[in-house]
């Protein structure tokens, strides 16, 4: 089962690298924000899988919860800032 979790985490890491393309080269600020938000969502699952691999999931789950909150707040803050600024 640990091998399955490890291969799943490596696949998610590859998908996060693909999303990083949209984060680096995406035309405009908004595409970059969308790419970084997708990377944060994948990182949440990767952290939980790391906790299950190391058998210390009760520690990693708190980190994962905080990561979900930070991802949400960061996206909301960037959206509010762009909306108040009024232009891309």
């Amino acid at each position: 089962m640990h091998t399955f979790f490890l291969s799943l985490g490596m696949g998610l890491f590859a998908l996060a690298l693909l999303c990083l393309y949209r984060g680096v080269f995406g035309p405009g600020v908004l595409n970059r924000i969308a790419g970084i938000c997708a990377i944060g969502t994948k990182t949440l699952i990767i952290l939980l899988l790391m906790g299950f691999i190391y058998d210390r999931v009760e520690m990693f789950i708190d980190i994962s919860m905080v990561y979900a909150l930070l991802n949400f707040i960061g996206t909301i803050t960037a959206a509010k800032y762009l909306e108040m600024k009024g232009e891309v």
């Binding site: 998908l15 393309y21 908004l30 969308a34 790419g35 994962s64 949400f72 891309v88």
Partner: protein, 102 residues
């Protein structure tokens, strides 16, 4: 192999499939709103499936309760952030993509 491990594998594979679909949509769609459509729905369903699969694998404990809590929070937070950023794009004057008529 326990029955919990066997039951958690389809959830995790389904979540991974929806992650792949959302990433392909993010890379290949032509417009910002189309890309947000792909990631907003695909990532929400993928995170939900993955968290349910991991909590089935964990069994009944405080950790699985926290996993269900994260799932409920992501189910609320992901559409909210998608809506906020797309509203910001609309108010900034970004035009949605339409197919050019010949």
């Amino acid at each position: 192999m326990h029955i919990q491990e066997l039951a958690s594998i389809p959830f995790l594979l389904g979540g991974f499939f929806f992650f792949i679909a959302a990433t392909v949509g993010l890379l290949r769609f032509p417009d910002f709103f189309c890309r947000l459509h792909a990631t907003g729905k695909g990532d929400t369903l993928a995170v939900l499936l993955s968290l349910v699969g991991l909590s089935v694998y964990e069994g009944f404990s405080l950790t699985s309760l926290k996993l269900i809590f994260i799932a409920v929070f992501m189910f609320l937070a992901q559409p909210t952030s998608t809506h906020a950023i797309s509203r910001a794009a609309m108010r900034c004057g970004l035009e949605p993509w339409v197919r050019e008529r010949s």
